[in-house]
Amino acid sequence: MITQFLLNGIVAGAIYVLMALGFALIYNTARIFHLAHGAIALLSGYAMFLVAVRLGLGLLPGGLAAVLTAAVVGAASELLLYRPLRRRGAGPNAFVVASFGLFLVLQGLCGALFGTDLKVVRSGVLPTVDVLGQPVAQLHLWIVAVCLVAYPLLQLFLQRTRYGRQIRAVANNPNLALVLGVDVERVRVLVFALGSALAGLAMALIVTDIGVSVSSAWTIILVASIAVTVGGVGYLPGAAVGGLIIGLAQNLWAWQFSGNWPNTATFLVLFVILLLMPRGVFGRGIARREA
């Protein structure tokens, strides 16, 4: 019985990993708590629905639409919102409030355009495969596979390419990077595009599995930000592990108690980590309190 929940936890965890990685990339590099990440993901999910179902073009174009929409809107949020804010000397709280405003605008837009019911991109019953004696949907295996491939690819990009190096440089010390000739502003836009694209990818998977509705935006940003905290702020592998932990925690909680309290599970994980391991499970996070 518990096996089923564990397997579900891994699948959920895989998606959360992608969400968390995107958010972490943006947070580490641009130092912005990009609340709107959840709403951009939401928008990309609806974009997929629009292309795949409404326009009838199918899964692959739909998925592409999701990733592209996310990347474009993400980059736009840096160019049109955060950059002007920075130019006006806004403090971190103002950034969070503005990001929250963007979140509401995008979420409202989706609600106005698509309504509040669940939208799914599905073609009939899911074929299943046997894993450890439990039937697992092939789709879920695909989801885990995508995640397993995406993470090393991302790390490869960050470690081995020039742009990746620039991103890491800006994440480490923006001023020094600037002095050394890195176009920090352009790196920021790139990071927003890349981080949002990851969210778009995750969203594309979600839409074919459990669908998307307006309330998904909250879930996404909560999971992403909590996963990053659990793994240690500023530590990318930590974000991935954090996503997995939350996926497992949510499903184990549902196994023990009931599926009615999903948010409580997520936040309990957060509070436990904050109290016991404030620098994340690996202890590699940035210290929580700066005087």
């Binding site: 002007p84 103002a94 948010n263 936040f267 904050l274």
Partner: protein, 290 residues
């Protein structure tokens, strides 16, 4: 028509109290809480359950709501204080979601989505407040009284230290002030007042259900503080009025009722963005956000 006006005005008065109590946290101490609707709910349910299930009089239930909500606010503030700004907000969001799930799922006590009704209005010195008119007067009196209390608090030495924390926390620490203690204190006061607002709300509507205390409401309260003006108690009134009038006015613009709530959400978001870009102190705020 007249009874509708009194209804709206009473609701507005309760919300002014609620918004002002959030302003204490947000505008005076820089504590960006998205949990305030949850505390509102705690007060409402404590009062409601006391009156309905425990048969206690409102005059006991309301102070009980104040004390319990205030204690909860203080208790929850302690671990939250070690968080950096962005994560503080997420943590308060956590409190909001968890408490909402409690309101919704703890059916034996709160009756969950079925709603808790039969919260009878009390009598004041033998004079019944069951009628809307007298109740409105009573509410205004209570809110005005608490407003004076908040005014005295924010203009007292305690208030000055809070403002100092807001403007430059490091310096305040270096001056030897126990910053954490002050933050816990204001969290307790803000929560306690939200609890009182909740108790008033419970007897005002005589029936409550979780939907009034969800994250949407927290967002709205947050918005009212930011729009009206953080750090200025009169701004709480301004924000409440503006953000109650606009949705009502929109009613006449002729937006299909299906999309109306979403358009409203978009408008809220747009207002926040514009304020952060062009006027971070809201309408009459004493403090700029950020």
């Amino acid at each position: 028509m007249e009874s509708y006006v009194i209804y709206v005005l009473t609701l507005a008065a309760i919300f002014v109290l609620l918004v002002a109590s959030l302003n204490l946290l947000l505008g005076f101490a820089n504590l960006f809480s998205l949990a305030h609707a949850a505390y509102f709910g705690v007060g409402a349910y404590v009062a409601g359950v006391s009156v309905v299930s425990l048969g206690v009089s409102f005059w006991v239930a309301a102070p009980l709501a104040l004390v319990l909500t205030g204690l909860l606010g203080a208790l929850l503030a302690i671990p939250l204080l070690r968080l950096r700004d962005d994560y503080f907000i997420i943590a308060t969001l956590g409190i909001q979601f968890i408490l909402f799930e409690v309101f919704y799922n703890w059916v034996p006590v709160t009756r969950g989505p079925f709603g808790l009704d039969g919260i009878r209005r009390p009598a004041l010195f033998g004079f019944s407040l069951a009628q809307d008119g007298p109740f409105f007067a009573f509410t205004v009196a209570v809110v005005a009284l608490l407003f004076v209390v908040m005014w005295r608090l924010t203009n007292s030495p305690v208030g000055r230290i809070l403002k100092s924390i807001r403007e430059d926390e490091l310096m305040t620490r270096l001056l030897g002030k126990p910053v954490e203690a002050y933050k816990v204190l204001i969290s307790a006061v803000g929560a306690a007042l939200a609890g009182v607002a909740g108790a008033l709300y419970a007897v005002f509507l005589t029936t409550i259900d979780p939907s009034s205390f969800d994250v949407q409401t927290s967002v709205l309260l947050f918005l009212m503080v930011v729009v009206g003006g953080p750090g200025n108690l009169w701004g709480s009134i301004a924000g409440t009025v503006v953000l109650t009038v606009i949705p009502e006015a929109l009613r006449f613009v002729g937006i299909p009722s299906q999309t109306a709530p979403h358009i409203r959400v978009m408008l809220y978001g747009l207002i926040l963005i514009l304020l952060m870009l062009y006027r971070r102190q809201g309408l009459i705020g004493e403090h700029q956000v950020g």
